[in-house]
């Protein structure tokens, strides 16, 4: 059960960080919180593969690097296949007795563009082949690195620079792709959703994902203050609202079993805790236009969508 792993933050906080300060991600960015917590969840030697994106770019502006773990950025769409090669070569070198480490954790960090869109094929291939690695999607719901363009991870109604809120079309006209469900459909040993706000839950999931034998996938929500249009101090609050409204439920799929975790489990047990999705939308400038009378129906549509997914999740987890 997810409650077994405990992290003593007072001890962990004394250690030298594996992701170093001096990186140039925006103030208030959730991605470095996700990366640092993930790296904190394992004591084993770690190799990081990073898809092209904000995290990759802002942590390795030559001649500087923020990574105190071995790290490789190959390209945008191939983080999972790069990890496949690393995992395979470690196996091969072990067979020859030419590899020093008993276990090495391989962690991929990739954004929504590199996962939902351009990297989906490479991810699916690596999941199907069963490589032993953990893929962490930090989902900021648009191409933030290139200046806030819509991706397969952008939610309905959201303003982006390629789904602008115009006079005729009010933001993105499609829902978010159910990326974690796509990972589950591969029947890999471990899939979970997480946010940095629910940090203990996230770190436990990282540990589980690393401990299973085979591929693991964690979909972490990564609010972007620049792209979502909120104050830099609100990053964690926005995560909490995403979970409290069931816009982004916390769950895990482990060896064929579904389970709600952390705050989402509490909401399932006490439905009165569930907030309207409006609470999540209204704190973000990217949804501002939805509050005009003529677009109000979109908020209702988003609420219906959120409710349907939540109900489905309650069924899958056996709560309903």
């Amino acid at each position: 059960m997810s409650g077994k792993i405990v992290f003593n933050i007072r001890e962990l906080a004394k250690r030298p960080p594996k992701l170093l300060p001096g990186h140039r991600l925006c103030a208030g960015c959730a991605a470095p919180i996700i990366a640092k917590l993930a790296l904190l969840a394992t004591d084993r030697p770690t190799i990081v593969v990073n898809a092209t994106g904000c995290l990759e770019v802002a942590t390795t502006i030559f001649p500087y690097t923020s990574w105190n773990v071995p790290w490789i950025h190959n390209a945008f769409e191939n983080a999972a296949s790069t990890a496949s090669g690393i995992e395979a070569v470690i196996k091969a070198l072990k067979k020859k007795g030419k590899y020093k480490y008993e276990n090495v954790d391989i962690i991929v960090f990739a954004g929504d563009g590199g996962t939902y869109d351009i990297g989906l094929q490479s991810l699916s291939g690596a999941l199907e082949r069963g490589h032993d690695f953990l893929y962490i999607l930090y989902d900021n719901e648009a191409y933030m690195n290139t200046g806030i363009q819509r991706s397969g991870g952008t939610p309905l109604g959201a303003w982006t620079t390629t789904s602008p809120a115009g006079r005729v079309i009010p933001g993105k006209t499609q829902h978010k792709k159910p990326i974690a469900d796509i990972a589950v459909a591969h029947r890999i040993p471990y899939v979970a959703t997480a946010t940095p706000a629910h940090w203990m839950d996230f770190m436990r999931k990282v540990r589980k994902g690393l401990d299973v034998n085979g591929p693991a996938f964690i979909h972490a929500l990564s609010p972007c203050d620049r792209g979502w249009r909120f104050d830099t101090s609100e990053t964690i609050e926005v995560c909490k609202l995403a979970v409290d409204t069931c816009y982004f439920p916390l769950w895990e799929f482990e060896n064929g079993e579904w389970r709600l975790t952390d705050r989402s489990l509490a909401i399932a047990r006490n439905p009165r805790l569930k907030k309207p999705v409006e609470e999540f939308l209204k704190v973000q400038g990217r949804f501002k236009h939805l509050f005009k009378p003529e677009n109000r129906h979109l908020i209702e549509e988003i609420q219906r969508h959120v409710d349907a997914i939540w109900e489905d999740l309650l069924e899958r987890t056996g709560i309903k």
Binding site: P63, N68, P70, I72, G85, A92, S124, R129
Partner: protein, 410 residues
């Protein structure tokens, strides 16, 4: 000369490559099937399935992922190989540059095939010629034996500390990939000794205050593939130019070493010539068609016609010095390209050959021919016609066309 016991086997070019890879102690083969390369990975899969190699075979979902996995494997310290052709190579294009720029000694066999559209599975060089500026060394082989020999040599060249560049071994689709030939195979141990273990290079990194191995190593963490701006990107490209230049010597040395071991060599490693010393006219050509050119030249020579053939073995690095030396007394040169460059004044081999002679005071007349696109055979009659044209130019001093197409219906 060699006292080595070599075994004669009937193999096609693809199988010859697979045998070479089997003997080179490769850690990861990541590949995707595409005609006419597929036999390589099929054969290699058999070696894996029968436990004859320790290699991890990663049956990726695309060529893009094949090259990406090779990048990961090589960066993590292993020896990596892949094979592809045509559209597969085109799909890899982005990662070809990354492999070379990260200085990863990956080896890849390219069974040369025409690019779509229309889709065509047969031989020409438009696939690998499109990749000529990616930073890969390119070896074009003439027969299955050379495919075997060059694949083994490729690992040694790629991993040489002065080089550290990926190597493409290009063999003509079907003409070589699927044609059965007698191939001499070395004992496993001899190949293993020749290639050696992959040595990880070291480099000075300030934050360690010393030289550290260039590998994804949890003890000495390095960051591969950072973001580079206008302040350093240019500086990072210069070592790639330098390494390609240094590769010339290494390819020559490896060619000689191979000769001592096996009794086989391919010119000086970069360029091979036939009857060039007193030739009046000559053909410059790559790959399997060089065999046809040589046999036609042999016939003409019997009749006292002074013709020669120059086979460029490494298109990258381009054998500029060898080419000048080989053609110094030749009056008219016909450069035969198995690919074109739409809108250019000729094919890539022609362009480089001409450029090579631009600043030479003594230079031959150089004309270009494009032949064999999409698997069109280059017959001895066609080669004969080219030689006749070259002789005609020598006789009259008149060039009617700079670029001609050989064997196409008008």
């Amino acid at each position: 000369m060699s006292r080595l016991k070599q075994v004669l086997m009937g193999l096609n070019g693809d199988e010859a490559v697979a045998w070479a890879v089997k003997q080179c102690d490769v850690d990861v083969v990541a590949a995707y099937p595409i005609t006419p390369q597929t036999i390589i990975v099929e054969k290699f899969s058999e070696f894996v399935a029968n436990g004859e190699v320790h290699t991890e075979f990663v049956a990726v979902e695309s060529e893009h992922s094949a090259m990406s996995a090779c990048v990961g494997a090589a960066a993590a310290g292993g020896r990596a190989f892949t094979a592809t052709a045509a559209n597969g190579l085109a799909l890899m294009w982005e990662i070809l540059y990354i492999a070379a720029s990260l200085r990863l000694p990956i080896v890849m066999a390219v069974a040369n095939r025409a690019l779509s559209a229309p889709i065509n599975i047969h031989c020409d060089h438009s696939d690998s010629m499109g990749a000529r500026d990616t930073g890969w060394i390119q070896i074009y082989v003439e027969d299955a034996q050379e495919a075997y020999d060059s694949t083994i040599q490729a690992f040694k060249i790629a991993e040489h500390p002065d080089v550290l560049l990926p190597v493409m071994v290009c063999l003509d689709g079907f003409f070589l990939s699927h044609t059965l030939q007698n191939v001499k195979i070395l004992p496993d141990e001899a190949v293993k000794k020749f290639v050696g273990e992959r040595k990880i290079p070291e480099t000075m990194v300030d934050y360690f205050g010393k030289k550290v191995p260039v590998v994804l190593n949890p003890d000495k963490p390095l960051s591969f593939g950072p973001l580079d701006l206008y302040d350093y990107y240019f500086e990072h490209k210069i070592p790639q130019f330098k390494a390609m230049e240094k590769a010339k010597d290494v390819i020559r040395e490896v060619n000689e070493e191979w000769f001592k071991l096996t009794g086989r060599k391919y010119g000086d490693g970069l360029i091979d010539t036939y009857a060039i010393e007193d030739a009046d006219v000559a053909i410059v050509i790559l790959g399997s068609a060089a065999g046809t050119a040589k046999s036609v030249a042999e016939q003409l020579r019997k009749n006292g016609v002074k013709v020669g053939v120059v086979r460029i073995r490494t298109f990258r690095p381009f054998p500029e010095e060898g080419l000048v030396e080989a053609l110094k007394n030749v009056k008219v040169v016909g450069v035969m390209d198995r690919s074109g460059s739409f809108g250019a004044i000729g094919g890539p081999v022609f362009l480089e050959t001409r450029a090579t002679f631009y600043d030479k005071s003594e230079r031959p007349v150089i004309v270009g021919y494009i032949y064999g696109l999409g698997g069109r055979d280059l017959s001895p009659e066609m080669v004969k016609k080219v030689f006749d044209e070259l002789l005609e130019i020598k006789r009259t001093g008149k060039v009617r066309r700079t670029l001609s197409f050989v064997g196409v219906r008008e």
